[in-house]
Amino acid sequence: MNRRRTLLAVVEVAAWWAALGALWLVFVTVVDPLELAVGAGVAGVAALAARGARRAVAGW
């Protein structure tokens, strides 16, 4: 059971990460490797925050 829940968690964070990464690419004007790296990191942080927020509202 626990494995399934972590799988769901990973899928959720990955989905948020992809969407927010795409949003970062839209925001950015010039795209170079460093920009992509920073964007990936920031999208990761925001994805984790999104999941944390959903779970906080849903009440664990």
Binding site: L23, L25, V26, F27, V28, T29
Partner: protein
Amino acid sequence: MNGWILAATAVLGAGVGATVWGVATGPLRRRVVAQNLSTALACPALLLLAQGYDRPAYVDLALVLALLGPVGTLVFARLLAGELAGDPPRARALTRSAAGLGAGVVLALCVAVGPSRALLKLLVVGVLLVGGNLLASRALSGGMAGARRG
């Protein structure tokens, strides 16, 4: 004579000017709606100015306003839920027209900008703006009923 700046002047003078008058006078429920409309109209004005001055960097300002404007209205809806419960604000037509104006401005700018990443950015700002303001007016008119003391 730059048409975009002229349009921005019109939106600012007529639209935002009316919201300033609306927020300074009248009952609380009309002031809260006027505050919501002020961000709903200032954001397209900023977009028009960004196009008029030919500075794509100014779109970031409109982006932050499109994000935080409705959040500011949510603050008022949440913390004034008590006072507003008596006569909830009903401004469906005004909010719809402001949202329509915002959408129209964004579409016009998209046509002017042409297919590129900047177009996507404008669309993102447009979606955030229209969605945010419609939702904020929904929150004002009763979305926060259960949040009187929390």
